[in-house]
Symmetry: C2
Subunit: 260 residues, 2 copies
Amino acid sequence: MRITIIGSGNVATHIAAAFANVGHNIVQVYSRDIQHAAMVAYNVKAEPIDALDAIDPNTDLFLIAIKDDAIADIAQKLAKYGKLIVHTSGSTSLEEIEQYTPNAGVFYPLQTFSKTKELDFWTVPLCVEGATADITKQLEELARTVSNNVYRVNSEQRRILHLAAVFACNFPNYLYYAAGELLREHNLDFSMLRPLILETARKVQEHLPKDVQTGPAVRNDEKTMAAHLQLLAQNPDLRRVYELLSQLIIKMDNGGTAGA
Amino acid sequence: MRITIIGSGNVATHIAAAFANVGHNIVQVYSRDIQHAAMVAYNVKAEPIDALDAIDPNTDLFLIAIKDDAIADIAQKLAKYGKLIVHTSGSTSLEEIEQYTPNAGVFYPLQTFSKTKELDFWTVPLCVEGATADITKQLEELARTVSNNVYRVNSEQRRILHLAAVFACNFPNYLYYAAGELLREHNLDFSMLRPLILETARKVQEHLPKDVQTGPAVRNDEKTMAAHLQLLAQNPDLRRVYELLSQLIIKMDNGGTAGA
């Protein structure tokens, strides 16, 4: 397939590489900054461009991977070529493109990407939605060329997935940070927590979180929780986090076994 | 070394196996339930016992891996043998054993264990503390026979580590659960989130959490946060979590780059 990438951020970089790796033809990479466009384009042997006037209409798909609030504007400008246009955003509806063209879809990777970190794209869940059944099928087939985890997801479900990703990714990462700050105040290094963090994520690869919940709250170990709150006496922010999450863990409908 | 294991839970099971694997002699495994003792003892070719009267004094180390509030009582009963006694608890001071014998120490693994899940013990951070410099050195040497991550940690630091582990393990696992509940309400499966959860934990194996924080809060993307809070209108508990953690992420001293 001939694919044009709009954007040069983390998502654009990883998706362009994944497509190129399996033999799709990346025609052009557009960014307002030509150097950013060039960085992505170079690896996938595409032409970098920084003006929409320079768009090559000889493509099958425009894939828009830019900030949410800029998607509609770009889609409007690309609609005249009559080609399929998709965005990659979790929190943006199909309608943002469909208002300008019926050749509209969504290609949402449910993953966190870093430019500097390689990852196995085959494991990335790809959530596709088309404005028509044909488009959905076409996007599903395209997604299957680069991932083993392809899902048909409508705009409402995608909004929920994006929200759930905040709970499963952004908030845990903040808690890693908070844990590291506690250590730092006592001259202990964040690296001590790394094996625990990784194992906690590994556990739920095979189990459900409810079945592997551990810690003082799930045991309703009031003595330990009181001692922890005492240690947080000088840190009202983390004390609030501790109290709220412990209360909710105690409320969990826990059918699993609490371990170490 | 001849080692007697007191306890038959997750920590006892994994530590006994790690010691046996590198050639230490597990003499006995004690549990109040002889079948539980037998399950652990069988794998490490030790004698299972369910009465402290049956203790074989011909050992070098009593390793107590039981509930925190039962440690002191057991330590008192084992003190008469004059052998080294250690516990494995993050939230229990050395004093709980030292009050009965100067041959006291702590051997705290900073990891979450499941009976059903194998893990590479070499990566487990082991935090040792002895009542004397000699005991600390002895425990450090013992720890190095089974792990590449051995730390000298005093009782105050260990309390902080245990608290930090709640933030780095127990609370993230609850958030995985919360994310899964959001999906379940919309007929989406928790398995969709697994690659994201694993990648989030992998990212901080090489980076600091602060440098890889992503999501609407760190971008101060008020439109997306408002939409997420709207989606949580019927779920006051998770709405409180969303509001509190987003506020704290916005407050983070963020020097990193926010990605996808």
